[in-house]
């Protein structure tokens, strides 16, 4: 049989998985904690600095923008992919990771031109986050306004 039957497929998948080296869960968790924590600490320092000079909402928006800039800048320098490779979710989840996911395809596809390359591919990775983020925001807002008044 060149194409295994269901039973053999299951057996082989189990076998293959048994040869996988274990995921380094502790190492991943510690590096995510340290890097994610550092990114959030930087953001906190920026927010505290801006809060005494700007109204609160403006300070919050400005902090997010600065963190997006920082993520984009480090992606441009070719550093953020190294951070992400080391820290996993610690680097992916903060807004700097979002910036990385938008800027990296934009850089990658610059050679295919600004229309069909940069702008068309920019949301290749972040697209689903934006779509489902907006959708869930809409659903939560509806619930808040009409259900949990």
């Amino acid at each position: 049989m060149t194409r295994a039957r269901t039973k053999e497929r299951d057996e082989y998948n189990r076998l293959a998985r048994s040869f996988h080296p274990p995921r380094p869960i502790l190492r991943n968790a510690v590096s995510a904690f340290l890097v994610g924590g550092t990114i959030c600490t930087v953001a906190q320092v920026i927010l505290d600095y801006l809060s005494v000079r700007l109204p609160k909402t403006q300070a919050l928006a400005m902090t997010s923008s600065l963190m997006v800039f920082l993520g984009a800048f480090l992606t441009g320098l070719g550093v953020y992919d190294e951070i992400g490779r080391f820290a996993g979710m610690g680097a992916a989840l903060p807004i700097t990771g979002f910036a990385n996911s938008v800027v990296s395809p934009a850089m990658e596809f610059k050679r295919e031109g600004f229309v069909l390359g940069v702008s068309a591919r920019m949301f290749q990775v972040a697209g689903p986050v934006i779509v489902y983020g907006s959708l869930s925001a809409l659903i939560v807002s509806i619930l808040r306004v009409y259900v949990f008044k």
Partner: protein, 341 residues
């Protein structure tokens, strides 16, 4: 008939591999085989404007070097066979654009060089050519953007995944001359044991490797001990374990003679995960390390089994499993016929 058993082709006039050349990227140049490659690019762009152009350039350089090393010129080459990992095998076709040689484009993912040597040998043995140029290439960054994520996107690699090498290699097969000879070829069947994880290509290809090796050995009535070495290319750590397990179940023990070219090209830093992969990996390791050892007689008979995962990003997104293929090429050192084993 030059067929032995169900599916192994044996050459009565063995085609000779008269030269081999390899061109690699910077990371491969820093690996344990670094000094053996003919050319190491200073950076991954090789002075070109894009990675695709760089891969084409490396492939062209490797073919030029192989032809020169054979003491020939492009006009002496009757066919050019090449393949790579990119959509529509552009690296190969674009390299062929600058050559005045009839061209056949091949796709067998990482098994391409095995497919190329097999077909090249058939052409020579059939008397249709004096010299055939075969080549294959891969580039880490072109493969990443096609199969995975943009290169600057920060994501964590998982343990069974493999690192696509930046390398190109070319061989010149000839009906006569000095060099290691192609003794026999077993063309592989496409095997699918239901692996759907694109990060675990080693396991997806292992059944094809096991099947081809098993058929090769049983067709020729041989045991693994008849070979100085059996190379898979590139199963990585995970796939190698699965392959050896599957063969052991069929009563064939490869421990001691088996090595994987995906485990030879790098120092195996954690980022490499399970090992190296890509059309250029097995091809360049063969050209830089195995070929010279065969030529000098340090290795007398070798079974080279390049393995390929025949998936595309589309099939993976549609939750299709990953089929694998492996071709076995048995090679002997130049003095084989005179002195026997």
């Amino acid at each position: 008939m030059n067929r032995r058993g169900a599916s192994t082709c044996v050459f009565s006039n063995m085609p000779v591999i008269v030269s081999a050349a390899s061109v690699v990227g910077p990371r491969e140049g820093k690996g344990p085989l670094g000094s053996l490659f003919d050319l190491v690019c200073g950076d991954t762009l090789c002075g070109e404007a894009s990675w695709e152009k760089a891969e084409t350039k490396m492939l062209r350089q490797a073919t030029d070097l192989a032809v020169t090393k054979a003491g020939l010129q492009d006009v002496h080459i009757d066919f050019f066979l090449a393949g790579d990992l990119l959509n529509q095998i552009i690296s190969s076709s674009f390299a062929a654009r600058d050559k005045d040689i009839p061209f056949l484009g091949l796709y067998g993912a990482c098994s391409t060089i095995g497919e190329a040597v097999a077909i090249g040998s058939f052409i020579i043995h059939g008397g249709f050519a004096e010299n055939v140029l075969v080549a294959s290439s891969s580039h880490h960054d072109t493969a990443e953007r096609q199969f995975r994520y943009p290169t600057e996107f920060g994501y964590q690699r998982v343990p069974p995944s493999q690192w696509t090498v930046t390398a190109a290699a070319a061989l010149v097969l000839s009906s006569q001359g000095e060099g290691p000879k192609v003794e026999a070829v077993t063309v592989g069947r496409v095997m699918d044991f239901g692996i759907t994880d694109a990060n675990d290509m080693g396991s997806a290809m292992a059944p094809a490797f096991a099947d081809t090796v098993w058929r090769h050995l049983s067709d020729l009535g041989r045991t693994p001990g008849d070979y100085d070495a059996i190379f898979s290319g590139d199963l990585g750590r995970v796939g190698s374990k699965a392959a050896l397990y599957l063969l052991k179940k069929r009563g064939i023990d490869l421990s001691g003679v088996h090595d994987d070219t995906g485990l030879m090209i790098y120092d195996m830093e954690p980022e490499i995960c399970s090992g190296a992969s890509g059309c250029g990996c097995v091809a360049s390791v063969f050209a830089a390390k195995i070929y010279p050892e065969l030529k000098s007689g340090k290795l007398r008979r070798v079974l080279l089994v390049p393995t390929g995962a025949l998936h595309s990003p589309t099939t993976c997104q549609q939750a299709e499993s990953i089929p694998g293929v492996a071709h076995a090429v048995s090679l002997v050192y130049p003095g084989w016929e005179e002195k026997g084993s």
